[in-house]
């Protein structure tokens, strides 16, 4: 028997909405993860020893357990502690928290990469802490944090497939549904593998573009 993509493509609408859902949870989840991770890293830097130590625990726990287990715990275990979430918010929240633990480490390394003297120079000039973060620390760490951040975004994209297991209608779920109904499961998987791969490539291209734009001053030579 040969591959027949026509059956799958006839379900175009469902597929497109699945792809749209994947892109949505990926982009929103990654942005939220990066934002939470940045806030956590900033709290660790400026919050004193106790905050720093206290925040290592959840980071280590999240990085030390599988995403699928965390997802199931949140979605199926949440109601026991009064946290009943629908599939989509639960999936987004799980993805954001999971990614945030890694982004927190990425930004911590970023903060550490900036020579303390660069911050001291700004302090002497009267920059506020927020101005220092915004104008000195973030731009200086950008080159260092972009590659691991892109990497993390790619990992999170692939983890979104697991949201199908709590019935978020993203593209793995729609594709397997269509594939089973139409007896074209393998074709459906080939198709979404292609879409995942294109998205991964896209993330890589965007990352390299950002790096190139930012590295102007590093490459600049007299």
């Amino acid at each position: 028997m040969g591959f027949d993509f026509n059956v799958i493509l006839s379900k175009q609408d469902a597929l497109v909405s699945g792809i749209a859902m994947t892109v949505f949870v990926w982009v929103v989840g990654t942005l939220a993860a990066a934002l939470i991770g940045f806030i956590v890293a900033t709290a660790r830097r400026y919050g004193g020893v106790i905050v720093d130590k206290a925040l290592t625990v959840p980071i280590e726990v999240i990085r030390g357990t599988p995403f699928l287990v965390q997802l199931f715990l949140l979605y199926f275990g949440g109601p026991y502690i009064g946290l009943s979430l629908d599939a989509l918010p639960a999936g987004l929240l799980a993805l954001s928290i999971y990614g945030a633990a890694y982004f927190a480490e990425i930004f911590r390394a970023g903060y550490q990469s900036v020579p303390p003297g660069h911050v001291e120079a700004a302090e002497c000039l009267g920059f506020t802490r927020i101005q220092i973060i915004r104008n000195i620390l973030l731009p200086e760490m950008a080159l260092l944090v972009i590659p691991p951040s892109v990497n993390m975004a790619i990992i999170l994209l692939k983890e979104t497939a697991l949201l199908s297991l709590i019935t978020v209608p993203e593209m793995t779920m729609t594709a397997s549904a269509i594939g089973s109904q139409e007896y074209a499961f393998v074709e459906a998987m080939v198709l979404i593998a292609l879409v995942y791969w294109v998205l991964v490539e896209l993330a890589g291209v965007l990352g390299r573009f950002a790096e190139k734009k930012l590295s102007r001053y590093r490459l600049a030579k007299a």
Partner: protein
């Protein structure tokens, strides 16, 4: 208010168990160049960094133009941290130049010099850059305004750093071994800029191993040894023989052989 730009009173700084500054009292006269010399590890940088509040003193006080820096005493005589706003205000009178320049690599020379005018003084970009150009011209680098630090020589980077500190028009400039990271042939251009500042009457505190500079430009020289301020005096007195035995030893040991006979 006294005539002194900086007054350091019974300053103590400990890192854990080690006392790095041991009961330092020092007056920095306004409009003069005060040099700090001494063996490495004697506490020169720490003292200078305390004057910029980059280090918090363990005890004692520092006054900048009569105003307390970093700590204030409440009604009950208890030492307390100054508010962040007050601290920024006192600090704004001070410019600091570091051994390692500490320019921001992602900004051009003009960007480095204009940054504080824009962020701290809230000037428009155009106005800040116009003012910044005045400072770059002063250090002879107006034609390098668009260069990033990585495109500049060490001497040029340090001159940009000086221009950056001058941008907010501080009353006092602190220098921590400004030429120590430079190749010998590049120290001259930086020292010349500093001489120019001195001749304009800028109050300067300079940690340096350039004994020639200290002797010729300095109005007073302080000698630190193992966290203690051994003496402060005019160069003519400091280098006149017979010298303080620790100074004699320092000139022999830490500087080029024969430096002690040069000055």
């Amino acid at each position: 208010m006294s005539d002194n730009a900086i007054s350091v009173q019974h300053l103590v700084k400990r890192f854990g168990e080690t006392t790095v500054l041991d009961d330092i009292s020092l007056e920095i006269p306004r409009g003069q160049v005060s040099c700090l010399i001494g063996p490495s590890g004697s506490g020169k940088s720490t003292l200078l960094r305390c004057m910029a509040f980059l280090e918090e003193a363990t005890d004692g006080s520092i006054f900048i133009e009569g105003a307390p820096l970093g700590f204030v005493y409440d009604g009950a005589g208890k030492r307390q941290r100054q508010s962040a706003t007050d601290l920024r205000k006192v600090r704004s009178q001070i410019g600091m130049v570091f051994q390692q320049f500490n320019l921001w690599p992602h900004m051009t020379a003009l960007g480095n010099v204009s940054a504080a005018l824009r962020r701290v003084r809230r000037m428009s970009k155009a106005e800040a850059e116009e003012k910044a150009m005045v400072q770059l011209r002063k250090v002879g680098l107006e034609n390098r305004a668009g260069h990033y630090p990585s495109q500049l020589s060490g001497g040029q980077q340090q001159r940009v750093a000086i221009a950056r500190s001058l941008a907010l028009e501080p009353k006092i400039m602190l220098f921590d071994e400004p030429t120590s990271a430079l190749d010998p042939e590049l120290t001259g251009e930086v020292l010349n800029v500093m001489r120019g500042l001195a001749s304009e009457g800028m109050t300067m505190v300079v940690v340096t191993h350039e004994i020639g500079f200290a002797a010729t430009v300095g109005n007073q020289i302080s000698f630190l040894d193992q966290g203690k301020l051994l003496f402060t005096d005019a160069p003519s007195k400091v280098f006149a023989k017979p010298r303080h035995p620790r100074l004699e030893q320092f000139l022999d040991t830490y500087l080029d052989r024969g430096a002690s006979t040069l000055v």
